[in-house]
């Protein structure tokens, strides 16, 4: 049985491929690119603010941040139709923002406030906004891949062409639900799009140490009769092109897709994790392979003025400031909220 010969934290490093400069000429209209630029900044700035709020002791519990991984969320956010469905993991702040959910209820939710996206009952790991097609953030690895299939099935039976996207990490590819979900979707040609954000670490352990294939999602696709796309998950244009292809396939009855987006988290797995198991040269290389400055430069190269980009960044910052202040001053959930919404009648009664 192969076991790692490397001591903890001294495993082989995985470096990013250079950005593909030819994507500058990809057939993506400029306004879509501006939208992806804005979404990436919305996510980055929100995550930074949430981190600050955590350091101030205002965010309790755990949360899982996605700094460094913004491009995939932003690209899907731009590529999906408002009535499409998306299902996140517990590392879902970015996917939530990308569907158009404003920052205030997200921040309020993490602060445990009544104005939180789900009334303070879900927290960081359960952000949900049905009106934005964001059907929930799921904290048990793999489950939502199966659930996304149900949404795709429902769309098919109801005769709509909505698609369902499930975002998940590399770690999810080793749980049974991943395999059940992909098999199921492929068998019934459901319009489910499986998006693996491979950030190289399942939690604290390198995915390569616990997985016998190089690409944990894409290499499993042929077993289910699917082709997979492997893309630079830090390049919004690369993800957008793959997303557009997969969405078109799903919408037209062509069945599911697997996309493996290679990326890296700038921080640790969760609040409790400084990420020290990651070798310095690897972290440094991926910090250089940051989706946001690259995309800024690409837009400049495409002729967008620095003033327009700066204005977007400042708008986003002002919005986050306003949202954080409003969330901080919002009230806690009322005590009665403890007892509400177990059942559809709004209550929690289990006996007469």
């Amino acid at each position: 049985m192969p076991v790692s010969g490397a001591p903890y934290g001294a495993h082989q490093i995985v470096l990013p491929e250079p950005f593909d400069e030819s994507l500058k000429d990809a057939p993506i209209d400029l306004e879509t690119r501006i939208e992806m630029f804005r979404k990436q900044h919305q996510i980055r700035q929100l995550e930074k603010r949430l981190y600050t709020l955590f350091l101030e002791g205002l965010v309790r519990g755990t949360s899982h941040q996605s700094m460094g991984m913004e491009a995939t969320s932003a690209a899907f956010g731009a590529a999906l139709r408002p009535d499409d469905y998306s299902f996140n993991t517990y590392r879902g702040h970015g996917h939530t923002v990308a569907r158009g959910v404003p920052p205030e209820p997200i921040i309020a939710e993490l602060l445990g406030k009544a104005t939180g996206l789900v009334g303070g009952k879900g927290g960081s790991m359960h952000l949900t906004s049905v009106e934005h097609g964001m059907m929930g953030s799921y904290a048990i690895i793999g489950a939502h891949l199966c659930i996304a299939n149900g949404a795709a099935w429902s769309a098919k039976l109801r005769g709509t062409d909505q698609v369902a996207v499930a975002f998940f990490g590399d770690g999810a590819t080793n749980i049974g639900a991943f395999h059940e979900a992909v098999n199921y979707a492929a068998n019934y040609r459901l319009g489910t799009i499986f998006v693996c954000e491979n950030n190289l670490y399942m939690e604290y352990t390198p995915i390569a140490e616990v997985t016998p294939v190089t690409h944990p999602a894409a290499d499993r696709a042929p077993a289910y009769g699917l082709d997979a796309a492997i893309v630079d998950g830090n390049d919004a244009d690369a993800v957008y092109l793959a997303a557009r292809t997969a969405i078109e396939r799903a919408r037209t009855g062509g069945g599911p897709s697997i996309i493996e987006a290679k990326t890296y988290r700038h921080g640790g797995h969760s609040r409790a994790d400084p990420g020290k198991y990651r070798p310095d040269p690897e972290v440094e290389a991926w910090l250089e392979h940051d989706p946001i400055p690259m995309y800024h430069q690409r837009l400049l190269d495409l002729g967008v003025g620095e003033d327009r980009l700066t204005a977007i960044i400042q708008e986003v910052a002002a919005e986050i400031d306003r949202a954080a202040e409003a969330a901080k001053s919002a009230p806690e959930p009322p005590a009665e909220a403890l007892w509400t919404n177990v059942w559809a009648n709004g209550g929690s009664q289990w006996r007469n």
Binding site: Y85, V118, G119, G120, K121, G122, H126, T128, S129, V130, M135, G136, Y138, I140, G142, A143, H144, L145, C146, I147, A148, N149, G150, A151, A152, W153, S154, A155, L157, R158, A164, G176, A177, E180, A181, N183, Y184, N187, Y188, A337, T340, N341, V342, W343, A344, N345, G346, S348, Q349, W350, R351, N352
Partner: protein, 324 residues
């Protein structure tokens, strides 16, 4: 009025709801072409077609995940988990996902679905295909739990479960599939959370569920011949729990027995004991007695399985001894 088997009532109940509401869909392993491994769902594929009656792979997580995602987005799925024991391989969906979605989203996401399953012993299938897991189910906030004992109740509770906006686990008892009962013509719709008093006697109240109901009735018949008169209540629903019917009966009889097929520890009767002793202690003339399957896995040998489950002999003897 027609006589149906409990087995036939399953398909009748599902078909009634699928005819009424095109958003009702049905999925599970071997449920369509094969008509179910217990032949409970014969004819549904032929009537409703493969879009609405789906033969799935052996993928309990995929089944319940698909049911949940469909329920969240406008359908009313009925999912079959073939043997209740198999809940153990998809418990994440039952306990973490389906049960909690409405609360975690503060009411935004509901899961109106039914998970029906063959529960209980009597077929000599051994420890992994014979368990009564209703007490696992009722331990999870956010799911409703019903377990009918007759064909009519099965149809009526199936309809109530499908129409309910919350997730319902419906436990059919495998050993009851061949049993027969009168079923009225026309649509049958029952109500969740209502126990039924099946016979009234003044000496003691016996609360039973599913297969334990006919056994409790048989014990009551025998004891009646000896001058001991029992009230027998078919609980039918564990969540919501009809405590009012039980408390009312205990006020009249002053003694209470539960007859449970689930293994002893934390069986549903323990909760009823707790409620009655807190709220009706001064109505009682003697201790509450639970008659349960012992806290054991089930054996496949017929004599050992029979020894484990409460039967009419044990029920009658226990009650007689306790009443002195």
């Amino acid at each position: 009025m027609a006589e149906l088997t409990y087995r036939e009532a399953v398909a009748a109940g599902i078909a009634q709801e699928m005819r009424r509401d095109p958003s009702v869909v049905f999925l599970g392993e071997d449920v369509g072409g094969a008509g179910g491994v217990f032949k409970t769902t014969a004819g549904l594929l032929e009537e409703f077609g493969p879009d609405r009656v789906v033969d799935t792979p052996i993928s309990e997580q995929a089944i319940l995940g698909a049911a949940m995602g469909a329920a969240m987005t406008g359908l009313r799925p009925i999912a079959e988990i073939m043997f209740a024991d198999f809940f153990a391989v998809c418990w994440d969906f039952v306990a973490n996902e389906i049960a909690k979605s409405r609360y975690m989203t503060d009411g935004m996401v509901g899961c109106p679905l039914v998970i029906r399953s063959g529960n209980g012993a009597g077929l000599r299938f051994g420890a992994q295909h014979s368990q009564s897991i209703e007490n696992w189910a009722m331990a999870v906030p956010g799911v409703k739990v019903v377990a009918p004992s007759t064909p009519k109740d099965l149809i009526g509770l199936m309809a109530a479960s499908v129409r309910d906006p919350d997730p319902v686990l419906l436990f059919e008892h495998k050993a009851l599939y061949p049993s027969k009962g009168e079923v009225p013509e026309g649509e049958i719709v029952d109500e969740l959370g209502k126990a039924r008093v099946l016979r009234e006697g003044s000496d003691a109240t016996v609360v039973a569920l599913a297969l334990m109901v006919p056994r409790a009735l048989e014990a009551a018949d025998r004891l009646a011949a000896e001058g001991i008169h029992l009230t027998v209540i078919d609980l039918r629903s564990l969540v919501p729990l009809d405590t009012a019917t039980i408390l009312r009966s205990v006020a009249q009889t002053s003694r209470l027995f539960t007859v449970e097929e689930n293994p002893r520890l934390c069986g549903w009767g323990a909760e009823i004991c707790s409620i009655v002793s807190e709220e009706a202690f001064w109505d009682l003339d003697g201790p509450i007695v639970r008659i349960t399957t012992p806290h054991l896995p089930l054996a496949s040998a017929p004599n050992l399985e029979d020894l484990a489950l409460p039967d009419a002999d044990r029920i009658a003897a226990t009650i007689k001894a306790a009443l002195g």
